[in-house]
Symmetry: D2
Subunit: 144 residues, 4 copies
C-alpha cells in the first residue's frame, strides 16, 4: 500500500486590478511574480526566509530556469489558490512546481522554477545545505 | 462628548522580494500599488467591487491625483499594515488616505488618492451614487 | 551554398533601477516583460500592432507557454540588446525566441513564448491569418 | 529682457501592453515608474548615474515625496514624451517636475518627485554635493 501523497503548500492571491490586461486576463508575466511570492512565503514557512538567506550570505538560490503553461485565463475579481510542491531535489539544484487554481477549483496555469544552490564566497554551485534539503523534502510531489 | 472616531479599514501586505530595490528599500512606486490593492479590497468589502462597477458601466471612478510621503523605509521581510480611511467626501469626488505601518507599528509612509465619479455614458463628472456615498461615509476620518 | 540566415529583430532596453533586486540582479520575471515589450514593438514593425489586433477583434494571440533560461545576471547600469526570432511557425500557433545580450555582447538569458491564433468569435484556435504568417516568416531562425 | 527659459530634459516611452488596465488606460502607478526611468536616464545624462552613486556610497538621494495629477488617459499604442525639469533646488533637497505629453502633444499628466541628499555614513540629510548641484541647475524651470 502506498503512503498518502505529500500535501502541497498553499497560498491564495486575489487578482489585483492592475494585473489584468486589456484583453481581460491576467498578463502572463504576473504568474511568475505570483509563483515567486508563493515561494517566498513557502521558504519562510519552512524556516528559510529569503531575507535571512541574503543576510547570512553563505549560499544563494538564483533561478536558472522558469516556465509556465497557460490553460484558462484568470480574470478581475478572481482569486487563485496556488499549490506549490517540490518537483525535483537534486544535489545542487531543485525544481518547484506551481499549480494555479481558479475560484471553481479548476487549473488555470502551471509554472516551474529551477533554483541552483550557489556558494556565495566561491561563486559556484554547491550542495544544497542539509537543513534546507530536509525542509524541502516533505513537499515532494509523489503522484505527478 | 465627542463620538469615538471611525475605525479605518485594514489590509496587511508582506513585502515581496521583487519590490525591494538595490538600496534595500521598497521602491517608492510600489506604495501606490499597495494603496490601490487596499482600495480594491475595501471597495469589495463595502459592496462595490471594481469588477462589478466595470461590468455595470454606469459610472467609473478614475484617479485624478495621487501622492505619497515617505518617512522610513519598508524592507525585505517586513509586513506592512495599511489603514485606509476616507479623507474627504465631495459631491462628485472623494479622497482616500492610506497609512502604512511597519511591523513595529510605526508609520512608514502615507498616501492619498483622489477619485472622481464619472458618468460613463456622458463621459463627464456626476454625483457619487447615494449607495456608494453611504458605504464610504463610515470610514470618514474624524480625527485628523 | 546556403543562403545567409535571416537577421533577428533587435530591441534595446536600459535596465531600470526598480527592476534590480536586492541581490543586484534583474529579477527573473522582468525578462518576460522585456520579451513581451520586444514582441509588441516587433508586431508593430511588421504591420500587426497589438492595439490594432485588439480593436479589429477578429483573432487574438494569447500566450499558452513561456519559458526562460538565465545564464548570467543583468545588473544596474546595464543595457540589454534583445534579439527576437521566429522559432517555429505552425498552422495555428507560433513560437518566438528571445536572446538577451549584455553590454559586452555575451548572452545573459534566453526566453521563448508560444502564441496561439484564436478566432475571437468562435473562441477556439484558427489558422494564423496569411498576412501575419507572411510577415512573421522572414524572422525564422535558420541556424539554431 | 528675460533670458530664454531652460529647455527640459526629454525622454520618450512607448506604452507597453501590460501597463494598460481593463479600463483601457495606463494604470496610475505606472506614471511613477515612467517618471523614475526618466530620472535615471536624466541623471546618467548629467554625469551622475544612479549605479555610480550607489557604488560610491557617499550620498544617497531617497525620495521623500511623490505626486501626480492625471488629466487625460494614455492608451495602448500611445507614445508619451516626458519632459523633466528642476522645480526646486534647496540646500539638501530638490524637486523634479515631469510633464507627460500624448502623441498629439497635449498634456496627459504631470508628476513631481522630491529627493533628499543623505550622508550615507551619518545617515542624515546633507548638502547636495556641488558637482550635482551644478549639473541640476541648467534644468531649472524658469517659467512655471
Amino acid at each position: 500500500m502506498n503512503p498518502p501523497p505529500n500535501p502541497p503548500f498553499h497560498h491564495r492571491i486575489s487578482i489585483p486590478f492592475q494585473d489584468v490586461d486589456l484583453a481581460g486576463m491576467v498578463f502572463f508575466a504576473h504568474f511568475f511574480r505570483y509563483a515567486h511570492e508563493t515561494y517566498e512565503i513557502f521558504m519562510t514557512a519552512i524556516g528559510h526566509p529569503l531575507d535571512g538567506i541574503l543576510r547570512e550570505a553563505v549560499f544563494a538560490l538564483p533561478l536558472v530556469h522558469a516556465e509556465a503553461d497557460y490553460k484558462k485565463p484568470l480574470r478581475l475579481g478572481d482569486t487563485t489558490l496556488i499549490e506549490l510542491s517540490l518537483k525535483r531535489l537534486g544535489e545542487s539544484s531543485f525544481s518547484l512546481h506551481y499549480l494555479f487554481r481558479g475560484g471553481d477549483g479548476e487549473p488555470r496555469a502551471t509554472a516551474e522554477t529551477v533554483h541552483v544552490a550557489l556558494d556565495v564566497e566561491l561563486g559556484r554551485p554547491c550542495a544544497i545545505p542539509a537543513r534546507l534539503r530536509d525542509a524541502l523534502k516533505p513537499y515532494e510531489k509523489t503522484n505527478i
